[in-house]
Structure formats: C-alpha cells, structure tokens
C-alpha cells in the first residue's frame, strides 16, 4: 500500500501522515514514512524530536555526495539514509533546501 497525503498549507498533511504511519506500524505493517517537503517537519510529528529531525541527512544530499554508488537499490538507499522513528517506522527525507540559490523556484 502506498499513500500520498496532499493539501493546502496548514491543513494537516504532516500530522495526518505521521498518525497514519505510526498506526500502520502498530498494526504490524512495515512502514516507510517519506517526507517530500523541502521544509521537512515529518520527524517532529512522528515523535523524533526537533534536534534529531534537523540532523537527518536527506536522500538527495546523500545522492549528491555520490553515496548512492554504495547503495544497490532504493530499498538499500532507505536502509542507509532512513532514520528509525517510534513504533518501528522508518523515516526518509527526500530533500531539504539548505542554501539560498537563485534560479530554481
């Protein structure tokens, strides 16, 4: 099962995603929570805490650093760069904007 949560700013996407992920995990499903927001906060809603959320290395950064050469599959990528969250959820952050760059909106 693959679920994408979308909607307007502040409508509750992150909170809904986090509750869904932890609920599935509690029911015994192997669960991957993917944060696709460039301003990623899913870690906070999952209960990882603010500091740990800020420390997460994004998959994109890892790929940019050439790390994907060491990962043989998407599963492996998630394994390497995902972080453990409560209830056994695995959290991976796709990308975060770290530096201001002109051009790309």
């Amino acid at each position: 099962m693959k679920i994408a949560v979308v909607g307007k700013g502040g409508s509750g996407k992150t909170t809904t995603s986090a509750v869904l992920a932890r609920t599935f995990a509690r029911h015994g499903h192997e669960t991957l929570a993917l944060d696709c927001d460039t301003n990623p906060n899913l870690g906070i809603s999952l209960g990882l805490g603010e500091e740990a959320t800020e420390r997460l290395v994004t998959v994109r950064d890892a790929v940019d650093a050439g790390e994907e050469d060491h990962a043989v599959s998407p599963d492996d990528l998630v394994e390497r760069f995902g972080a453990p969250a409560p209830d056994g959820v695995r959290l991976a952050v796709v990308s975060a904007i770290q530096n201001p760059e002109p051009g790309c909106p």
């Binding site: 307007k8 700013g9 502040g10 409508s11 992150t14 927001d37 460039t38 301003n39 906060n41 906070i44 809603s45 603010e50 959320t53 800020e54 975060a96 904007i97 530096n99 201001p100 760059e101 002109p102 051009g103 790309c104 909106p105």
Partner: protein, 252 residues
Amino acid sequence: MRVAFVGKGGAGKSSLAGTFARLLARTGQRVLALDSDPMPGLAFSLGVGVTDAGLPDDAVEEYEERGRRRYRLRAGLTGPEAVDRYAVRGPDGVHFLQLGKARGPRWNNSRQHFGFQGVLDDLPGDGWSIVGDLPGGTRQPFMTWGRYARTFLVVVEPSTASVLSGRRLARLAEGSRRPRVLAVANKVREPDDGELIAAGTGLEVVGAVPMDRALADADRLGLPVVDAEPDAPAVAAVRSLVNALREREVSS
C-alpha cells in the same frame, strides 16, 4: 515600504498579508499586493474577487538563448506598465498582481513564471509600497520570489514545526543578500508565545497577532477579515504591525 510575508505552510501569511495591504493602503500609501503562490490565498484576504489574475500570455514573449527557450516581458513592456495594465484594482485602492494559478497537472507555467519575475525585477518605485505573499516553506523565498523585498516578515505560529521553519528561513536569509528579517507571531494564545518564537527563531518579533476566530469565520465565508469583522483583535494587531513598520521606515 517593500515587505514580503514568508513562513511555514498555513502559518497565516496570506491572511496577514492581505489585511496588512488593506490597512497600509488606508494610511494613504499606494499599495501593490503581489501573490507568488500558485495556490490561491491572498485574493480572499484582500477581497479582490478574482483568484486567477496573472499576466496574459501575450504580455510575455519567448526567445532563444544558446539554443534554450526562454521568456521575458514583451518588448517595450516595462514592469510599471505591466502593473498599470494587468494588476486588478481591489478595495482601498490596492493593486493586485499574481503569478498565474496552477491550471491542471500538465500546466507548463514557464511563461507566467518568468513574465512575473520580469515584473518583480522592475517594480514601480516612487510612491509605491509593495506587499508580497510568498509560497509556504523554504523554497527560495529570498532570491526568487521575494527578491524585491527590503523587509521579510516571517510568520511563525507557537509550534515546534513553525518555529523550526522560522529558524531555517532566518538561516537561509543570512546566506543571501542579508535583508532585514523580522518575525511576526501569529495564532498567539499564551502570554509568552512571543518570547518562545524569538528564542526559537533567533529573530526579533515585531508583531503578535492573537488566535482569533474572526479570521476563521471570515475565511469560511471567503471574505477579508477587515470587511467581515473590522474590529476583530487580529485586525487591530495587524494595524499595530503596519504602524511599527512605518515607524521603522521613517527612522531608517
């Protein structure tokens, strides 16, 4: 003054920016309100009645540069002329211009996008105040959509994620042209929410807007809060914010 509202998704950027623009216009300023969010928001809080008022296609021309297709304002069309012709006139004389709204999954917005940026780089100067509403999050607010702003107002709610977003924005601003960046506390419920936001973001808090049902009620009706409930506490707080920024303009 030239201000742009930034902050986490749902922090209240559009609600505050629209109210701010209306109240600023009432002080006698000519105000251009700019919406660079492809999702509608500002139109409602301003009360302009149109949610898709971008530049028409023929205001933007295509050209080629080193084999790549590019867009710019039509030859001879300046930013101020584009504002004069295409900005919608709203209540209190506010002019309203936006990046077009997203039209379906395959909408290619390059034309709108670069045309709008052409206006941002050539905004009317003397006698105009600019109030911008930017998309939520940290996607290039300082160098792309907000590059005209002299002051960025980061709207922050008293929540961990909102404060964290404010801190990220403060950090991103430092790496760019170092504009003036101030926080506005929104949806404030506790007396120490302002302090929490100042400490958490590292930003000076220049205004505090209370959690106010009037905003939710106005939103439900699709009306600007300044019209629906002019005496609401949130409106009074935005008026104080307008005054605080005007005083800073005078002193700087």
